[in-house]
Amino acid sequence: MSAEYWVVVEHWRGSVSQITYEALALGREVADQLGASLHAVLLGHNARELAATLGKADSVIYADDPQLSEVVAETYAEALVQLLKSRKPKGIIIPLTNVSLGAGTLLGARLGLPVVNFCTDVKVAEGAVQARCTLYGGKIESRVTTEREPTILGLCPGARPSEKGLSDQRPPIEDFAVSLPEPAIHLKKYIEPEAGDVDITQQEVLVAVGRGIQGQENLNLAETLAKQLRGAVCASRPVIDQGWLPISRQVGKSGATVKPKLYLALGISGAPEHAEGMKNSALIVAVNTDRSAPIFNIAHYGIVADVLEVLPALSEAIESRKGVGSHA
């Protein structure tokens, strides 16, 4: 039997997630270097048609069960446990996102398999898989290998361009029957975000605030600047968790992915969870007191200073420039 490498397909509400294609692109490289075949593992219910876009893999292993109609980590892990009793891959890539989070850890814990989280890249060296992982809010990188196989790799978004994981070929489908116990967790309904707020994905200019804004009372500084730049205010997770702005304004893993012409990151450290939602903005300007903050690694311009000092100065400078322009 030839060696196999697997990618677990993340799909949600009828669509395959972008990270699945990123994982397929990465998985293809790893499988080729190992001389292994690549298989996409599709767990779902009435989801067979989703396999059509997974042609980067040599085949799609498809398990259909009503209990797999929604992504519940427990149920996914159980289905994968059953699949692993009949096939032995060398590794399994599972997206580490808000949809799939937890499934990889449960699978590893149930079968005593190694789990490597926060993977941003995977390479093969001397026949062994080595993962590069980003830890401590993006401030540390770790190169990791494992003592046994299969290794479960929790993949962060952005490891490869998603386009590289697309293929026009329709892959063969291998059906796999699962028998799942009655779950202890049921999805009752989805709660949609409140409509009526600004759609930050449609803005050309975004003034993004993070922990450095220090308090809700300082948000008016960002609002003023956003108004001057004909944009909108958005935020990283800590600001949303404090209840200072609604979740519809959140950029990053749990929020929106944005690509404005200008993204002003004010008091945002640039943790991977936030970066994944804004790193493709055309122009990124960061203001942060910490010169080593990861945000400066993806920004085009940076100012090492207190946001509360820079914000009013910037508003004033823009006002002055507009004043000069209007008198010219």
């Binding site: 989070l101 937890g102 449960l106 814990a109 926060f118 830890l135 401590y136 049921h186 730049l229």
Partner: protein
């Protein structure tokens, strides 16, 4: 409703992190340790449930630098009992920590049989697994993560939990209790507790200590860290130097050049 909250200390990433001489781990001799951010939310969520529905909250943490301050602060916020697990394996990974904690929960009177086990959904150093699903597996309980709202019903017994999905969408789940929940964010921001109140609690209340079970088991982690480094950026921002006024003026010029003003 008995609620158990598992708390973990992590290095404060606001400070400069240092790699240990072995090149494979962090040097934790220096720098501050702080409560993992989502664990702080788990603690707040437990207190909110207690205030709404009654019951008790017990906070549990592995021994670590500055953990006593965190546990006393938890008492000052309204936690009923705090337990520190002493003598854990040095440099324990998340899976190893989950194993130690689960052993204590299963054996220590008063910790067994909690209706809810809450912890943060993810910590910044969860390299070999996440705490909540690892605990759930160790305790043979159901698990739901990325939770931002939790309303238990002890008569059912079940809970309605809201899990966060992308783009601001929430998923409302019914979960049979007892269960383990990974809390992403509490329904309200973690409460502030004045230092004076924490100091008063230090004089009037105590931290219970329980020894971690001695184990001869091989590492549960199964990972080999080959190298730990600070990221070498492939690109770095052009830093605008000067006073706030000077940098603001320079930035204004850049924005104007690009037609953004």
């Amino acid at each position: 409703m008995n609620i158990l909250v598992v708390l973990r200390m992590v290095p404060d990433v606001v400070e400069e992190l240092e790699i240990a001489p072995d090149g494979k781990s962090l040097d934790l001799e220096f720098g501050r340790m702080v409560l993992s951010e989502s664990d702080d939310h788990a603690l707040e969520q437990a207190l909110l449930i207690k205030e709404r529905s009654g019951g008790t909250v017990t906070a549990l943490a592995l021994e670590a630098r500055e953990v006593d301050e965190v546990l006393f602060a938890a008492l000052a916020k309204g936690v009923d009992r705090v337990v520190k697990i002493t003598g854990p394996k040095e440099g324990a990974t998340t899976r190893e920590a989950a194993h130690s904690i689960a052993q204590v929960i299963s054996s220590e009177p008063g910790l067994k049989g909690a209706d809810l086990v809450l912890t943060g959904t993810q910590a910044i150093n969860d390299l070999d697994g996440l705490m909540a699903p690892s605990l759930a597996q160790e305790l043979s309980l159901p698990f739901l993560g990325i939770v931002t709202g939790l309303v238990p019903d002890s008569s059912a017994p079940s809970a309605v939990a809201v899990k966060e999905f992308p783009r601001g969408v929430g998923g409302e789940f019914e979960v049979a209790l007892p269960a383990v929940f990974g809390i992403q964010a509490a329904e309200k921001p973690p409460r502030y507790v004045p230092v004076a109140k924490v100091r008063a609690v230090m004089k009037s209340q105590r931290i219970d200590s329980v020894s971690a079970a001695a184990t001869e088991e091989p590492s549960l982690s199964l990972l080999l860290v080959l190298e730990m480094t600070k990221p070498q950026p492939t690109a770095h921002a052009e830093i605008l130097e000067g006073s706030p006024e000077q940098t603001a003026s320079a930035l204004c010029g850049i924005l104007a050049e690009r037609g953004l003003l």
